[in-house]
């Protein structure tokens, strides 16, 4: 692959990633991947009313509360990111 081509391919990929949040790539870290997974899951639970009711019923909470807590958790579902190695 010529350097020019690689350059365009990368920008395209970057563009796609910017556009479709949550898309993975070859060098994704475990933390990023898991965080995306959790955010997707929470969004899916909030979007599917029966699932929200199911959790609310099991936990003895109002569905409104479950929805709120799920959305809150989307901010940082898996704790802080790991420390970056010095490079």
């Amino acid at each position: 692959m010529s350097s020019e081509l690689r350059y365009t391919a990368n920008t395209q990929l970057e563009h796609l990633h910017a556009r479709y949040t949550g898309t993975g790539h070859a060098d994704i870290t475990k933390y990023d991947w898991v965080t995306h997974q959790h955010r997707d899951t929470y969004a899916s639970i909030v979007g599917h009313a029966p699932l929200l009711s199911y959790l609310a019923l099991a936990d003895g909470e109002a569905t409104g509360r479950v929805k709120f807590e799920m959305t809150e958790k989307m901010l940082q579902p898996c704790g802080p990111p790991p420390k970056k190695e010095e490079d």
Binding site: T21, G47, A49, P50, L51, Y54, P80
Partner: protein, 1209 residues
């Protein structure tokens, strides 16, 4: 295997409700979303009753719903956000009674995705634009307008995206006619994702951001963004903008921000106001956290507005804003009333509040007052420093009390949530009943569901003898109500007059010394009585014209309408009379000889504006039905003939609306009841008099009697056999449903002032007046209240009893309440007993933080509709599973084993200790004798009686127990399960284990070696919620995401496992894909759209096929019907394919993609979609039918047959 999925009862939960003038007239309607269905409800402001006008399955997940109205318009439209990746604008067409899709704008991928809009919708209050947003990042704004022809137009979308922003809520800001403004509550996660120290996460701010749609530039700009409370959850629109005429402001504009514990009013560049959400002054409440607002509604009246906010406990608060034009002086809050926690609140202009409960029945309340001048404490932001913005804000309290401002007007039954169900025939009727445990907390209930219409009896009075027929009759054609009840006895006739009381009258002109065959109000103002020896025509002035039978003959049958009379003589002759213009009854010159004795006859009512009905149906002893002309040119000529399988007992011609046959006019049905209890329904062709489209149905063991009646203002047919059935029109389609009522011998319409739409019937010597209040509800419910959220239920093996276990999280148990009360009293504090004694069904039980449980075991007697016994659990234990079992070592005794756990944390699942509580069942099942308690290391989520022992799923382990003196004894164990065992079913020595996240395992027990071995599992991970064995090798299960599927084990493997005596072969087989050595094959897969909570293999009609019935969490009940022949499969599948193109989803979801949401649909046909065939325009019906090489009535017949022969619905 191929399955046909049918919904018997659509979901009853309401996920969202909106109010508006959808039909364009003054009255307001409510549109509710039931998850996958849209329903239009109409509350009647006079009676306060809610009726369903239209339901429509959208074949998609409805996520958001708003009503909007164009500037200056009078009609509201509904905008729907769904999982289709499309914005859909719907209009209600009251003429066609249908939703019309005006616009469908595609903006993204389908499915419920994080960054695809659909979750939130907000409209500009002036109806100029709409914003649709996702959970994260994406926000699109559409401009709405009208074109020259006043049609609604929609622009292409404008983006208002913000990367890395999680959206909590959006709302349209009321700015009058300035540029439309939207407010969003957002959190940016980009910094906290980068900061390993966690400091950025701590500092992350929730921003209130205004997005302005610049109508001039056609562009959306982020106008203003300010941090607000970290725990803000919801935004509310505050009225604003200037009214053009006076230049006065409607309100201060801006938004209310609902936070945990507070409400903040906020607008650009002004000071904020904050008030606390008052907390309940409840001596037992021990929650550490503040409440949030879960539902809210703003209501504008002339020159004023207020908010009703509902906390997660169900308390309603009235919030008002004191303002001078745009300056807010104070934000005020006070306690209003307490109603069940809602998913949506709607205020109607007619003074009603519609509460769409998140769980359980929905309510319509009427406002008595608006809480203006009561002595409830009002908290105002003006009385706090800095308008309440100074921290800390002192805590506010209120005292909960019974309703003061609202009064209940109507209740809509809802099964939501069905937690568990059983199908069995306890009442020994023709069909089994469904027993379901529903609801949540103190509003839970045990419900017995029976297929049939509920009947409300108003009068029941005994008569001196046993009458064989009853009629009611008006005096004049234009009378609204009936005047007489006529009862025919074996040797006489009794006439009762209907007034303030019902009493006997003798001066009516009716012959009382003879039985009666028919009674009719005829012509303008005269009456007619047919008795065995003649006809009496009673004129208005009580003069009687009498026609007598020829000698040696009697009248055996008669049929009448307001202008025509036909009688059959014992000499097998027909005599025809017609009313002339002077009101004289004239006999037609010829009598018709039939050659066979007449058993039954019928003519239809005179069509409006006509002289006569042209057809007569006569049923004869030779097992035929003849259609005879009454037309003046061809009077009494034979037209057609239909042969029957048994002698007819009754015939009824009626013109009834059925949109599946004819959309525009009534269809003339000839119903023929046979002596063997079968009903034939045929359609009479109005042009040539031929009988077509015959459908049969078995009604009961007695000869059928058919009566034309009026129900809810439209003609219907009552069919009486050993059960009573009603054939009626509901939402333009014909339905045939049994009445849940004692069998009747005869019945007739009954209309009086007190009961304008009733029926009168006789059963034995009792005269009964009743009505059918709700035609929409085909399942009658008998409700027994429960104490806590039910978890599971089980039937006693022989007695008519159910054992229900109930447990509530975050609730104080009675034991904890007592200790706490003792403690409070001990410290000498005054305890507000009145608050403690408030009914828990409305106010809930005393709440606590996570980890507190209240739980009980209840014995329910559904036949006598009562709870027999309740055992409350102590030590913060909660019950999760139960089994009724026998033990080989204790023959003749029956035990109830309850799986409980102490101090359970729901997620991540943990407990201090699990237990198996063993009770001995005594006193025919009504007594429970506690024997012992066995400690376990995890929560037992599933228990099963197995070959004289007990098998339990204890966390990840499958264990087998036998009974001992002091405890249950562990016999063997298998710990190879992935997550936790949630379901157990068995046949023979095989145990089917459902894992919480890893699908179905096939295990077997090998007694010689005392081994529990897993020999097969699924190749897919699945979050099992319910399962049932369809046969020895096949299992049908449902998962948490709303799928149902069927898995089958290869016959060879099955045989091999059973032939291995010790299980050594399985034990040493090599595992496949890190699991069991064998994998099951998936045969069928289908997305239901509701979480399946129980599954049963049952037969719903006597002698019918076995089908799988499932219940869904949101209150749906559906069935999976196996196809019997390959032709049927091909036929219905082709029909389904056509339907996919001809009846596209209302929300624009691709049907195939929807039913294959997680896994592609496999070998299941969507019956609900196929049944929409009956609502298609006739032309489309015909073209589809032509492609299938059938007529459209054959297609309809096939669909009905699929439903009726297997479910009886």
């Amino acid at each position: 295997m191929h399955l046909y999925n049918l919904t018997l009862q659509p979901p009853t939960a309401v996920t969202q409700a909106i109010v508006g003038n959808f039909s364009g007239v003054r009255a307001q309607e409510i549109i509710v979303s039931r998850g996958t269905r849209l329903e239009l409800l109409k509350p009647d402001p006079n009676t306060g009753k809610v009726s369903t006008i239209l339901t429509h399955d959208v074949f998609g997940t409805i996520r958001s719903l708003v009503a909007f109205r164009l500037t200056g318009g009078t009609k509201d439209y509904a905008i729907v956000g769904s999982d289709s990746g499309r914005l859909v604008i719907l209009e209600y067409d009251p003429k066609a009674n249908a939703f019309v899709k005006l616009h469908q704008e595609t903006y993204g991928k389908s499915g419920v995705r994080r960054i695809v809009p659909g979750q939130y919708l907000a409209v500009d209050p002036k109806g100029r634009s709409v914003m649709i947003a996702a959970m994260e990042k994406a926000k699109l704004v559409y401009i709405l307008n009208r074109d020259a022809a006043a049609n609604l137009t929609i622009s292409s979308p404008l983006e208002a995206h913000k990367n890395h922003a999680i959206i909590h809520h959006i709302v349209g800001v009321d700015v009058g006619f300035e540029n439309p403004l939207f407010a969003a509550l957002e959190v940016d996660y980009s910094e906290s994702d980068q900061d390993p120290t966690g400091a950025a996460f701590e500092k992350a701010e929730k921003m209130l951001t205004y997005y302005e749609l610049d109508l001039g530039l056609n562009h959306v700009v982020r106008k203003w963004s300010e941090p607000t409370d970290k725990r803000a959850s919801m935004l509310l629109q505050v009225p604003g903008g200037q009214t053009s005429s006076e230049g006065k402001h409607d309100g201060p504009s801006g938004v209310l921000i609902c936070c945990e514990g507070y409400i903040i009013w906020r607008h650009m560049d002004t000071e904020q106001h904050r008030i606390p959400i008052p907390r309940r002054r409840h001596p037992l409440d021990e929650r550490s956290r503040e409440v949030i607002i879960v539902a809210a509604v703003m209501h504008k009246m002339k020159g004023a507005f207020f908010f009703l906010l509902q906390s997660e406990d169900g308390d309603l608060f009235k919030v008002t804003i004191d303002h001078e034009d745009e300056d807010v002086k104070a934000l005020k809050i006070k306690y209003f009333d307490t109603v069940p926690v809602a998913s949506s609140l709607c205020i109607l202009k007619s003074g009603f509040l519609f509460v769409a409960s998140e769980f359980g029945n929905h309510y319509l309340y009427q406002f008595q007052k608006l809480g203006d001048d009561d002595d409830e404490i009002e908290y105002s932001s003006a009385s706090y420093p800095e308008n309440g913005m100074a921290n800390p804000l002192p805590q506010a309290y209120f005292r909960p009390r019974a309703l003061e401002n609202l009064v209940l007007a109507d209740e809509l039954n809802s099964l939501d949530p069905i937690v568990d169900a059983k199908v069995t025939n306890l009442l020994n009727t023709d069909t089994p009943q469904i027993f379901a445990v529903c609801g949540r907390g103190a509003r839970s209930s045990f419900r017995m569901l029976r297929h049939g219409l509920d009947v409300e009896e108003t009068v029941s009075s005994e008569l001196p003898g046993i009458p064989n027929a009853v009629w009611t009759v008006k005096l004049k054609a234009e009378d609204q109500y009936d005047a007489y009840i006529v009862l025919s006895f074996i040797n006489g006739t009794l006439v009762l007059s209907i007034g303030e009381t019902i009493e006997e009258v003798s001066d009516t002109g009716f012959l009382s010394s003879s039985p009666t065959i028919a009674v009719q109000q005829i012509g303008e103002d005269s009456l007619l009585q047919v008795y065995p020896h003649g006809i009496r025509h009673v004129l208005a002035d009580r003069r009687v014209n009498e026609w007598r039978c020829p000698q040696h003959t009697t009248i055996v049958a008669a049929t009448t309408n307001t202008r025509q009379v036909v009688i059959a003589l014992s000499s097998a002759q027909l005599v025809y009379f017609e009313l002339d213009l002077e009101g004289q009854l004239n006999e037609y010159q010829d009598r018709k000889a039939l050659g066979s004795g007449v058993l039954a006859m019928s003519i239809a009512e005179v069509p409006e504006g006509r002289q006569r009905t042209p057809y007569l149906a006569v049923g004869c002893e030779d097992q035929t039905v003849r259609i005879i002309s009454l037309d003046p040119d061809t009077t009494l000529e034979n037209i057609s003939l239909q042969a029957l399988t048994a002698p007819p007992s009754s015939i009824c011609i009626a013109e009834i609306m059925d949109a599946s046959i004819d959309k525009n006019q009534l269809t003339m049905f000839v119903n023929i009841g046979l002596q063997n209890g079968v009903l034939l329904r045929t359609v009479l062709d109005p042009v040539n008099g031929q009988l077509t489209d015959t459908r049969t149905r078995f009604l009961g063991s007695r000869p059928v009697r058919l009566i034309r009646v009026n129900v809810h203002g439209s003609p219907s047919i009552l069919a009486l056999s050993s059960r009573s059935w009603l054939n009626y029109t509901y939402q333009n389609l014909l339905h045939f449903t049994p009445l849940i009522f004692d069998p009747l011998e005869y019945a007739w319409s009954f209309s009086a002032e007190l009961c304008p739409d009733g029926l009168i019937g006789i059963s034995g010597n009792v005269l009964r007046i009743f009505q059918v209040p709700n035609l929409g509800q085909k399942l009658k419910q008998d409700v027994i209240p429960l104490s806590y959220t039910p978890r599971k239920m089980l039937q006693h093996p022989t007695e008519r009893l159910f054992y229900v276990i109930e447990s509530d999280h975050r609730v104080l148990s009675p034991e904890a309440v007592d200790t706490k009360l003792q403690k409070l009293k001990g410290t000498g504090q005054r305890v507000d007993q009145e608050v403690i004694d408030l009914p828990p069904e409305i106010f809930g039980r005393p709440r606590a933080d996570a980890g507190a449980w209240a739980s009980c075991i209840q014995v329910i007697d559904p036949v006598n509709v009562r709870s027999v016994l309740e055992i409350t659990l102590d030590n913060n234990e909660a019950a999760f599973s139960l089994a009724v079992t026998t033990f080989t070592s204790r023959p003749g005794e029956l035990f109830l084993v309850i799986g409980t756990a102490q101090d359970v944390i729901v997620a991540p699942r943990s407990c201090k200790s699990g237990f198996l509580r063993t009770y001995k069942i005594s006193e025919n099942g009504t007594g429970l004798e506690f024997l012992h308690k066995t400690e376990l290391d995890d929560v037992p989520l599933a228990l099963l009686a197995f070959q004289g022992r007990l098998v339990g799923g204890v966390g990840k382990a499958l264990r087998m127990f036998d009974i001992g003196k002091k405890r249950l004894l562990r016999k063997c164990e298998n710990k190879s399960f992935a997550t936790a065992i949630v379901t157990l079913t068995t046949q023979g020595s095989r145990i089917i284990v459902g894992d919480m996240a890893e699908s179905i395992y096939y295990a077997t027990y090998k007694p010689p070696e005392n081994r529990l071995l897993v020999f097969a599992d699924d190749s897919q991970p699945r979050w099992i919620t319910a399962s049932t064995m369809v046969d020895y090798d096949t299992v049908c299960a449902g998962d948490r995401f709303g799928n149902v599927f069927v898995n089958r084990l290869a016959a060879k493997v099955s045989e091999q496992v059973d032939e291995d005596p010790t299980g050594a072969g399985i034990l040493h087989e090599k595992g496949l894909f890190m699991g069991a050595p064998h994998k099951t094959d998936m045969l069928c897969h289908y997305y239901v759209g509701d979480i399946v909570t129980s599954m049963h293999k049952v037969s719903l009609v006597a002698g019918g096929r076995d089908i799988v019935l499932y219940t869904g969490l949101h209150g749906s009940i559906g069935v999976l019907i196996p196809f019997v022949s390959k032709e049927d499969v091909d036929f219905i599948r082709t029909l389904e394919q056509h339907m996919r193109t001809e009846a596209p989803s209302l929300v624009g979801r691709d049907h195939l993609a929807y039913r294959g949401y997680y896994v592609p649909v496999k070998a299941v046909v969507d019956g609900d979609l196929c049944e929409l065939f009956s609502l298609l325009p006739t032309q489309k019906q015909q073209s589809i039918a032509a492609e299938l090489d059938r007529t459209y009535s054959e297609v309809l017949k096939k669909l009905e047959q699929m439903r009726v022969t297997t479910t009886g619905f």
